[in-house]
């Protein structure tokens, strides 16, 4: 609100003569194609946060990390963010990081480890880690995890909305079991289920939410602990595919809001007419 004339106006309206303030930095083409959306992009400069079990940055498929922290939960549920000295406690975070890297080779990868605080503290660790990641301003936060505890739903919803308005894109795994879980059910996130196609850039828009997109999630070759590899299946492996594609798009169009990014994903989905690829 640098314009003094606007200070007395309602906060959430558009006064006459201020329309030019809404000028969009990107000129949108008549038809949004994959070429327009991410042609020649490598995800350069886009910061992708892997909120998971930790990441082994030395794995050849991961190719280095720009930072790694762990979430610790105290006895009174206070959350501490500390440098991660332990790395990956499962293998899953390394797998996700490797998938993102394979799609967006020049993105910057960060790890926020929410595993290891015991199961009792896991909901608090998830919430605390997510809040911290949003506050850091990561453009993309990959969440191949969820909670069924309704006590966390309200707070997670709040953080998911905060992320949406701060231009942090939450990409979250849908459940493939019939249970209520969060945060993937929130409309402010990009929710991902699996398809069985082998192409990493094939993804489908689902007109019957809550799952909005299907990405590759079956028989995916992934990085695992200590330089190992494995073939893996699950929505939790489909999610980093979408995160990688988001990184490609934001690498080319960094000004896009989460709403615009989701629209671009819709228009470039493999089952949407005019996808152009």
């Amino acid at each position: 609100m640098s314009d003094p004339a606007r200070r007395s106006l309602p906060a959430w309206s558009l006064p006459a003569g201020a329309v030019e303030s809404l000028e969009l930095p990107t000129a949108w083409p008549g038809q949004v194609t994959r070429e327009w959306a991410w042609g020649d992009s490598t995800g350069d400069g886009v910061r992708v946060c892997i909120l998971d079990s930790g990441v082994d940055g030395d794995h050849p498929l991961v190719g280095g990390l720009d930072g790694a922290v762990a979430v610790e939960v105290g006895e009174d549920d206070e959350v501490d963010i500390v440098e991660d000295a332990e790395g990956d406690l499962c293998g899953h975070g390394t797998a996700c990081a490797g998938i993102v890297r394979s799609i967006a080779p020049d993105c910057r990868l960060f790890s926020v480890r929410v595993l290891g605080a015991g199961f009792t503290g896991s909901g608090t660790a998830l919430l605390g880690g997510l809040r911290w990641a949003v506050e850091q301003g990561f453009e993309i936060i990959n969440m191949s995890l969820s909670t069924t505890k309704s006590q966390f739903a309200g707070m997670l919803h709040e953080v998911a909305d905060m992320a949406y308005f701060r231009r942090a894109v939450l990409v979250a795994s849908a459940h493939n079991m019939p249970v209520e879980s969060y945060p993937w059910r929130f409309s402010s996130v990009i929710s991902v289920g699996s398809h069985e196609e082998p192409d990493p850039l094939t993804f489908f828009y689902n007109p019957n939410p809550p799952v909005e997109f299907f990405a590759r999630g079956v028989d995916v070759e992934v990085a695992w602990l200590d330089g190992a590899r494995a073939r893996s299946t699950g929505n939790s492996f489909a999610t980093p595919h979408m995160s990688g594609i988001c990184a490609l798009i934001l690498g080319k169009h960094p000004e896009l809001t989460p709403f615009q990014l989701k629209s671009t994903l819709y228009l470039t989905a493999s089952n949407v007419e005019g996808a152009g690829g």
């Binding site: 969820s146 069985e196 079956v218 494995a230 893996s232």
Partner: protein, 212 residues
Amino acid sequence: MADDRLRAAVAAGVLASEDAHRQLLNATVEVARAIFTARASSVFLYDEQTDELVFEAVAGEGSDTLIGQRIPSSTGVAGWVLVTRQPLVLEDVTQDPRFAKDVAETTGFVPKGLMAVPLLHDEDAVGVLEVLDRPEQGRFSLEEMELLGLFANQAAISLDLLRRARRAKAVLEQGDADEAALARLAGRLDALEGARRKAGLDLLASLETLFK
């Protein structure tokens, strides 16, 4: 409160024994192993008191040694599945000492692959079902994943029954002699058959009339 404890005592008296619940759980892992023609299958129960995962039922490799063994609740594949509520399938894992240690510590052999699925009951994650070493059958399919999920539902119900039976028993053990006596009576009455059962129920009805 006292009323609740008496109800729990009666419930504990007529509940199936822990052995019966364990048999149900064992049957579940046996069927899971058979359907996926796997080398082994197991169920972990989450122990709230110690924040650990405990082997409750095992079919195949390790079935004679693993029951009761404990692992941390939020590390390794089982811990990840419990914390994230997400199922996970891994195959063709290249030899990896940490992966091997993770699983072999608990099963006694090094699997090439595993399927792990959370056992969810209402809001609670009560444990984890694992199926180890399916034979090579080509690409894993989402239908198999769904089948695994269906099995997980069944296992979760079995595990929840076991958990409830233990809680009822704990209430009874911490209670006083009156509650224990009531539980014994309820259990014995429930086990009676024929004329003896009828006589028992008649006696109960007479007691009810007397206490009105």
